[in-house]
Amino acid sequence: MSKPEMREPIESGCPDGFQYMHPTMRRNFGLWDYHEDPQPGVMVHVAKNGDKIWTVKAGTQRILDVFTLRTLMDIADEFADGYIRFTIRSNIEFYVDAEEKLQPLVDAIKDKGFAVGGTRNSVASISHTQGWLHCDIPGTDASGVVKAMMDELYDEFTNWNMPNRVHITTSCCQINCGGQGDIAINVQHTKPPKIDHSLVGNVCERPSVVARCPVAAIRPAMVDGQPSLEVDEKKCICCGACYPPCPPMQINDHEFTQLAVWIGGNHSNARGKPTFQRLVAAGIPNNPPRWPEATAIVKKILDCYKEGARDWERINEWVERIGWPRFFEVTGLPFTKYHIDNWRGARANLNSSTHIRF
């Protein structure tokens, strides 16, 4: 391969999007009036001047090969108007400016094997991260987990069965790049890191890894006459924060790196203020290629939510209304000492009242 000539980069930063925007959207920028939802995965937005734009949302594998990408572009060219965008959850949106173009577009998308849906009160596609495919610290895979779960949630994506939107997230280590969601499937390590002392000397910035530990469990130490580190295993909360700056602190383990499910991370300001996710289940085996145990818990929670929530209630709102004890009752998930907070400010998560449902 030729050596690149070393030219100065053009620091153009973030490009202007208006050049790539569907003309109806460009023309009506900031002038939309309302929208309607003709069918799952399809919205029509109506501008103040009466202009309309139909959006069709399709779920894809987030990690696209160029063939699939070109297939999507072919659909856009043939059935839509040659403009697309991606949503924050990596779904692709196609646009048409006339109703008669709609159904052919929807059919074409489905025809090519993509899922149409994810709008309104459906389960949106699961947001994900890098996993074993690319990251240097993952405890599990990301694309695989999501594929396995979305296969099971396919009907929930393509239909409006839920009381409100469901946003599911996954992350492949405890850093949690994937965010929080109505349901978050996260990695949970359960054993302190095993240190490969022979490597520490070369690879680790020892002071900074000591500083990185959230519970001050790491101390510099001499091991076999070499400067290394030691972990106070009683203090260690197995978070894995030491691993990125110091890979010899092996936190990942084929058995003890497990999954946990958290619920109720609802970050919109709709009705209530944004809320954090809360732990509901841990000790879930990290079980590729299909992670059936994790999926079963997710589905159980969704079933109970579908059954019990009122329209417009997100998962957190439903649980807050019925109370956490009842959540554990209806889902059949065990309540354990691990649910009781002991992090900073834990007291705010305790029941300092006699408000109890019997």
């Binding site: 359960t190 978070c239 000790g283 649910h339 009781i340 907070d341 300092s352 109890i356 449902r357």
Partner: protein, 420 residues
């Protein structure tokens, strides 16, 4: 009445004005009209010093160590820092005396106490201090033992001061309140009287307070300020007298009822049904009292009564105010065994804290330091979802042992089911 040289009290005098009863008028009455010269003098000195405080905006008492024979606490000793200026009240100790649960007195007993106190002390007392003690304010070194002996003879004992179990408090409760769900009086006495040694001989890390309220209205502020708060509650359905309810609706009108009762229910579990009957989603009622506070004639607590126990409430020192948090969601208190069980729980709690609390550390602060779960394990209580407002929301937790914990939960659930 002695003819004494009165300290001038121009600032205090101002507090004789106004419609609210004046403590200064009371003081003056003692100073000027009490037959016992000792009292005239003590109050004169006290007023002199208090006026001095008002002028300089500073206090002038200091503490010390004093106690009746056989006890280590129960008295707050006070010595004046300006005793040379106001020698008459140079020693001015307060005896803390435990009242009955709910603070009941006959006039006879009151007069008896007044007689003893004016014989030995200053003639000033308070019913009651914020911890609930009768405070006999103003004894000197020579008299406090006499006064104690005298009232101790006819049934009164000192309360707590210092690092010890403190005097308890309980609401009027069953004696006169339709909201009551428990025998506040019995609970109060069972608890505190199981700890008389710990009340009288301060040897704990710090103080430990019991408070009992008969219902979630918590008229004793127990959750906010007791290490051990007992709150009456019920486990079955609340009781609705539909006739009384309908009469209420007819009287007040539907709008009033919607605005003040239905829409204000904490858990939105009330509705107006056919005929304006009250419809209750009992599975969702959180026992927040509001509906029955507004309509006591029609709505009352259920029949399956008991208590919720919370732990760790206290005020600011030294990590900030702490509310108590749920320890026992529900406990029956009917049989002697039930009462034994609550006392045992209290003993476990005091013992664990006595062993593990730091100096000057209250139960709530200790829990904050070690985490509720360690506390639960220390005193042998199983985790329960009613203990939490919500599960943890930060992923910094170590979950090895999850499977065992889950197993325990399922076993407990199975046992509960088998038992019922």
């Amino acid at each position: 009445m002695a003819d004494i040289k009165k300290y001038p009290t121009p600032m205090l005098d101002v507090l004789e004005d106004g419609p609210w009863p004046s403590f200064i008028s009371g003081f003056k009455n003692l100073r000027d009209n009490h037959p016992d010269e000792r009292i005239n003098n003590v109050i004169n000195g006290l007023m002199g010093q208090l006026e001095h405080s008002y002028e300089t905006k500073m206090g002038y008492w200091k503490g010390g160590t004093i106690s009746v024979f056989g006890y280590g606490g129960g008295i707050i000793p006070r010595f004046s820092e300006v005793g040379d200026q106001f020698p008459e009240s140079r020693e001015f100790h307060t005896l803390r005396v435990q009242p009955t649960p709910g603070n009941y007195y006959t006039t006879d007993m009151m007069r008896k106490l007044a007689d003893s106190w004016e014989k030995w002390g200053s003639g000033l007392q308070t019913f009651h201090g914020q911890t609930g003690n009768i405070m006999f304010i103003g004894a000197d070194n020579d008299s406090f033992q006499h006064f104690f002996d005298e009232i101790n003879d006819y049934g009164w004992d000192l309360g707590g001061a210092g690092p010890c179990v403190r005097t308890a408090m309980s609401c009027v409760g069953g004696a006169r309140c339709e909201m009551s769900n428990c025998n506040e009086h019995a609970i109060h006495r069972h608890l505190v009287n199981s700890f008389t040694d710990d009340v009288h001989r301060p040897a704990l890390p710090y103080k430990f307070k019991f408070k009992v309220s008969g219902c979630p209205n918590d008229c004793q502020n127990a959750i906010e300020r007791a290490d051990f708060a007992v709150i009456g509650t019920w486990r079955d359905h609340k009781k609705v007298d539909q006739d009384a309810w309908k009469a209420f609706v007819a009287d007040k009108g539907v709008d009033y009822v919607m605005d003040n009762v239905i829409s204000r229910c904490t858990s939105k579990s009330l509705a107006l049904g056919e005929d304006n009957a009250l419809v209750c989603d009992e599975s969702n009622c959180v026992r927040s009292m509001h509906c029955m506070n507004v309509v006591p004639k029609a709505i009352s607590p259920g029949d399956d009564k008991g208590v919720t126990i919370l732990c760790g409430g206290k005020r600011t020192l030294k990590i900030g105010d702490l509310m108590g948090t749920v320890l026992i969601p529900f406990m029956k208190l009917e049989t002697p065994e039930d009462y034994e069980a609550i006392v045992e729980l209290a003993e476990e709690m005091v013992d664990f804290w006595a062993e593990n609390g730091l100096e000057h550390e209250r139960t709530g602060e200790m829990i904050e330091r070690i985490g509720l779960v360690n506390y639960l394990e220390g005193i042998g209580i199983d985790p329960d979802p009613n203990m939490i407002a919500q599960p943890r929301n930060v992923s910094y937790v170590r979950t090895d042992g999850w499977d065992e914990a889950a197993e325990e939960w399922f076993n407990r659930k199975r046992e509960e089911k088998a038992a019922s």
